[in-house]
Symmetry: D2
Subunit: 423 residues, 4 copies
């Protein structure tokens, strides 16, 4: 698959961005493409378990997104399966000679963010911006395209061992990897590589691994009080929004940690009924992170203490749910160096580095924990995309020339060619 | 129109509750009924002005509600007019002898509140609860039925002067009366009566007027900051939700006033994009009230100061809009006594009182201001509904036997019969 | 005692203002004056019980204030008794003929407030402002002078019954009346009058009683967390100031009540150790009030709920103490009218009113509850002082001409003269 | 000076702890000891500039602390000079042969913290805890003892170059170093060493330098509103405590930074007048820190924005003052290695390390900036004290055996002996 086609694929995914667990069109196109290449595919219930997933989209939402997917070109049968059983896809390709089993993680989900509409934003200028309140503001459109391109390249079977490409839903929010692992997606993987574009690195720079991936817990808290007429009987109300607003401020006001980096974010808050009703309901989503998994746990416990104390202040009930998460990850040097060596060979030393710090979280870490726990190796490879706006920003965009670079390096790594042999 | 039919009408409106400016089905049925009685009707642009209305529902919302209205029995043409031009309806009936022009205000809108689903809630038990997230939790379903029944009774023209029944949209939030006044709905009225059911009074008790109606301003504030990846670059974000939460707490923490009763409520707050994005957006609706109109103005100015200061704290922008409101109202003793006398005559002294305190706001006060300003008289008549749950509560309900009482008293008042003559 | 001397007394008390339970100099001068008139005096332990008083000043503070009192002219022995046993003073004078026992309450304490220093402030301009961080910003300096003047007038015993003048400490904060009642100060009183100057009324206007006195609870809350180096190990701290600040905002954000007037105030907050230490300690004083005693109790319970919830949010401990309070009071019409009649007779109808609304609290209400509970009568008499700045404001001052008015009216009331007879 | 005497000195300083710029007794004893050794001393105005120091203690406070110093053994004349001109002391000793000029910084101030009183706290058990609400909870008592012991050792002049020992006031809060630099204390220094005990390192471990010293700004904010009677006219108040509490929460809720470590602390808050007065005044001290000096500046600007916005919310005035601060510091490898080599030689490799991370701030960084800016070298040497409780905690204590270790290593460094030669 040539670079132009890879980029066309990416733009198509970008234009039809779909959020977590609703990657119905994306998933359908992935399956269709892989089948077109003659590749064995596991999908739906064979690729992920939806039971036990917190906040899994309800049937009505999936049905609505299924309709949108079919309207914009998805195969109806594939879309129905993805909507009904799950959007994960696993492509497994056998090499023509012995070798290890590789796992390559490509995530597919977008964010519920309204994309920038100014002409300085290239997807808008070129007409492939998403117009539905979702946005690929983290590069996963590129990752999905990379996964398909890599499958196309390796469909000649000219490589040692086996390659399993993991098209993962719901990386944002940290729920998709666990759902795939529950379906056995990590079983038997000896070498695991996640790939990520962007990250503020110069376009085309390749890092063999990353440092500082943060463990995270995602939470949802629902406050319930008592509605009342805001003028006639305000004292009969129990104000859920006052409690939630206090929780928000006090969560953000928890201490910085000296022992590790931490992050806190209350990402959304929705509450209240009408301007003249004492608010009886409020719901927030929030997250804690740390470069130390134990500190992430401890910080999350403090967050939950704040959430409960805020409810007690105003005689509210609060339900707290841990909706997702991921852990820290230490990249194995053998894989890091192998990738850096390939990049140096292909593009020169100036384009290759070993480890780069990464200030985010990724539930690829859960795949890595499985693989490393079973004695395997794992890394998290970065390919710079020259993005000026940060990830998760309405103006986020990457230099598309970086996408084929990722495909080329991964192909070399998996083929075990002289300039990238890892065994 | 007999009591059973009045109650059937009320239950029908209840089941198909519609919020402010979206009373499309209600309006259509009102018009159809009035026409069936041979009564002259002004509707749409003849009954209200939609330009200049803050937060008027957008076309898509009106279209969706129009569809719902037609599906549940509204006449398609009437619904199209109501959706396109406005939902207000004015019925004008001429008496067969000289006399003053009366205006009777009946409001039609429901609240965006989810109705109680337990069997103790009579509309649920009897199967006429609304199931769409709207609820007649303030008795306007009864008011609309009263207006129709009154028109039916007076369609014999056997009364002095003229009667204009004002079927008003959007009393909640305080926008509908002003929109009707802008279309001339108050012009020429000599005697104005608003009617309200419920209010915690014993069922069937009639009060000739009320005291303590609060002036109010309704506000909408929109905070905008800057989105950013909550882990990778949190410092690049400007957090709209932290600003809005601070505004909420500090508005509620403004001082009580010794010089007059005041109320404050932040009714709704919605903000943020996703759990892992620094929130770039938050929107709240809020209100200030007071039994003194000047203090309501002063308090609202302080609220706006808090809203702006909270934006300044976090380098946010804030747009503040006054979306509606109403003023105080002093009921004229002549009308108060006339109504009380009718009720005493009909039901005995134990069922009739002059003035009752009322802890709410109503933009009927704007009609009253117009009428009284032109030398006319006005009152705000109450009919107890024995409600146990307060207004705006998911379990609000009234004793339906109170509805025909309101019709009977108004009929007597307007006919100028011996037991209720006001001239 | 002539008006000039009354005013000299008032200015002396003003210049040497003393706060709650530390009215050592004031008390000593009261006792010395009364003794000079040959009046029987109960003081110290005979006039009040200090055990059970919340937040009674510690010995070091009383010792320091005792020294200040002696330095500024107090009799050393009297000051020692007041510092050691309590500052309350009770003067009891027997009339020469039968009659009821009257109680007249005169409070003596000042506020911990820094007095205005501009020349527009009359005490400053005339050189009798207090310069020690205390201030008679509520008129109690005048009340104490009234009590002495009244005793001087009645030392001729030419009146029926008995008169007990209650020189009360610690009216601010609501602790002094209860301490005196515990020592029997209210026993046997048939008619109770409290007197208050100022209150925004025109100078010299006399009101026979007041309406709307608010019940109140005064609270003290102490938060304790854990100190830590703010940079080296901030996560080991538990931040008492973050908890206290949240409590403050959330107390103030409790709902307004429709059923009665309410007030909330967090009057003081002190916390933290040093700029670079996570705060381990915070202390606040606060109050709730209402025109309905039950609602005052309910509101106070909500305040305590907020205080505890805020502690829970940040894993703090909180000690909550109710340090004082008072209740509502209904003035008996017989006394109200008697006072109004005296004033009308003396100064004309324009200077006399029956009841005036009063937006404050006073633990004179506890005396009244005792007296009325035993079948007696009580009122709370107001004498306007023409104050422009409100009570408790650094620029508060009253027209001194109003002070002799209060003495004259009380004298007439107690003597039962024709123009003021109550029996 | 032998170890026992060094420890006796430390305990004496500990028992008589004095906070920033009030190290009057400490300073007097330092001068007396140095003079006893025949060493030339600069003190008072020769050692520091007090003009331009923010929040310099007022004359009354200095006078009170001077009295306490004299009562507890300070020479009256020396104490008078320290109280009047400043507490800094500079000892300068010339070596008997050519060489560089060394500066050694020993800070002297304690914290306003109440020391633990339980017997597990060794200063309490041994009877040298401070009982006056101040506490050496950061080891400066040991630093001062080290400075005196070092001067005693070097009073034989058997070393190359010159040694200037800088006894600095007010390290806590970051004001003392700048005041000394303003008096020329850093002029001509070629090699600068600051020494710090404790820091959670094993007792006796020596680190040649530190990494991660944070830049910091210390701030003081004063809010002023309008007092009012909390019940009678609360609406006339402008509540300074509500503003300050909001500022506190919102400062703490500012974002974590991904680009550098940051810290925020509101260390103290004091406000309000009395429980029944709307608070007209509030004062807070706070600090921002970062491992990046530019980010510290940017974060401080955001803090100031929050402080101003909070004032705007409630129509308050706010005065913001930057009261102190320090910067980051990079230790020069030549000095780091020299110290580590001495420690390894003396105590074995297990007791010597090069660089250790340090999670705090120290205005020794300002001396370092001066020295390095003029081409010299600087380091910040750590000597572990085995402290279990963190710095600034009421139970902080260090193993006293570590104090002579610091003296020995510094002596070797300055003498340039074979095992520690740096030239």
């Amino acid at each position: 698959m040539d670079p132009d086609e890879i980029i066309r694929l990416r733009r198509d995914f970008h234009r039809h961005a779909e959020p977590a667990f609703l990657e119905i069109r994306t998933s359908s196109i992935v399956v269709a493409r892989l089948r077109g290449l003659g590749i064995e595919v596991r999908r739906g219930a064979e690729a992920m378990r939806t039971d036990g997933v917190a906040r899994y989209p309800d049937a009505a939402t999936r049905e609505r997104m299924r309709g949108r997917a079919v309207e914009s070109g998805a195969d109806p049968d594939l879309a129905a399966c993805a909507a009904g059983e799950g959007t994960a896809v696993i492509a497994e390709i056998a090499g023509d000679r012995p070798g290890p089993t590789w796992g390559v993680r490509c995530d597919m989900d977008a964010l519920p963010l309204t994309e920038a509409t100014d002409e300085d934003h290239r997807p808008t200028a070129l007409g492939f911006a998403c117009q539905d309140g979702f946005m690929h503001a983290c590069g996963h459109d590129g990752h999905t395209a990379i996964g398909i391109a890599l499958a196309a390249r390796l469909s000649d079977h000219d490589f040692p061992g086996r390659v399993r490409i993991l098209f993962q839903p719901a990386e944002e929010g940290g729920r998709g990897a666990a759902a795939m692992i529950a379906a056995g997606a990590a079983d038997g993987i000896d070498r695991f590589v996640a790939v990520h574009l962007g990250l503020g690195l110069p376009s085309g720079l390749v890092a063999g691994g990353c440092e500082g991936l943060l463990a995270t817990h995602k939470l949802r808290a629902v406050y319930r009080g008592e509605a009342a007429h805001a003028s006639g009987t305000p004292e009969r109300g129990r104000n859920a929004l006052v409690g939630a607003a206090s929780a928000l401020l006090n969560v953000m006001a928890l201490p910085r940690y000296a022992a590790a980096d931490t992050r806190l974010n209350v990402g959304t808050l929705h509450g209240g009924d009408n301007v003249n009703i004492v608010p009886s309901y409020a719901e927030m989503t929030l997250e804690a992170r740390s470069t130390d998994a134990d500190i992430c746990d401890a910080l999350t416990a403090r967050v939950e203490g704040v959430l409960r104390g805020a409810a007690a202040m105003h005689d509210l009930t609060v339900e707290i749910e841990r909706t997702g998460g991921s852990t820290t990850m230490t990249c194995d040097r053998q894989l890091v160096d192998a990738i850096a060596a390939i990049a140096a060979e292909k593009y020169g030393d100036g384009r290759a580095v070993a480890l780069r710090p990464l200030g985010g979280s990724d539930d690829a870490s859960l795949f890595a924990r499985e693989v490393q726990g079973a004695g395997g190796l794992a890394t998290y490879m970065l390919v710079g995309g020259g993005n000026r706006a940060p990830h998760h920003h309405p103006s986020f965009d990457i230099d598309e020339a970086s996408i084929p670079v990722a495909v080329d390096v991964l192909e070399a790594l998996l083929r075990g060619t002289p300039n990238g042999r890892t065994q």
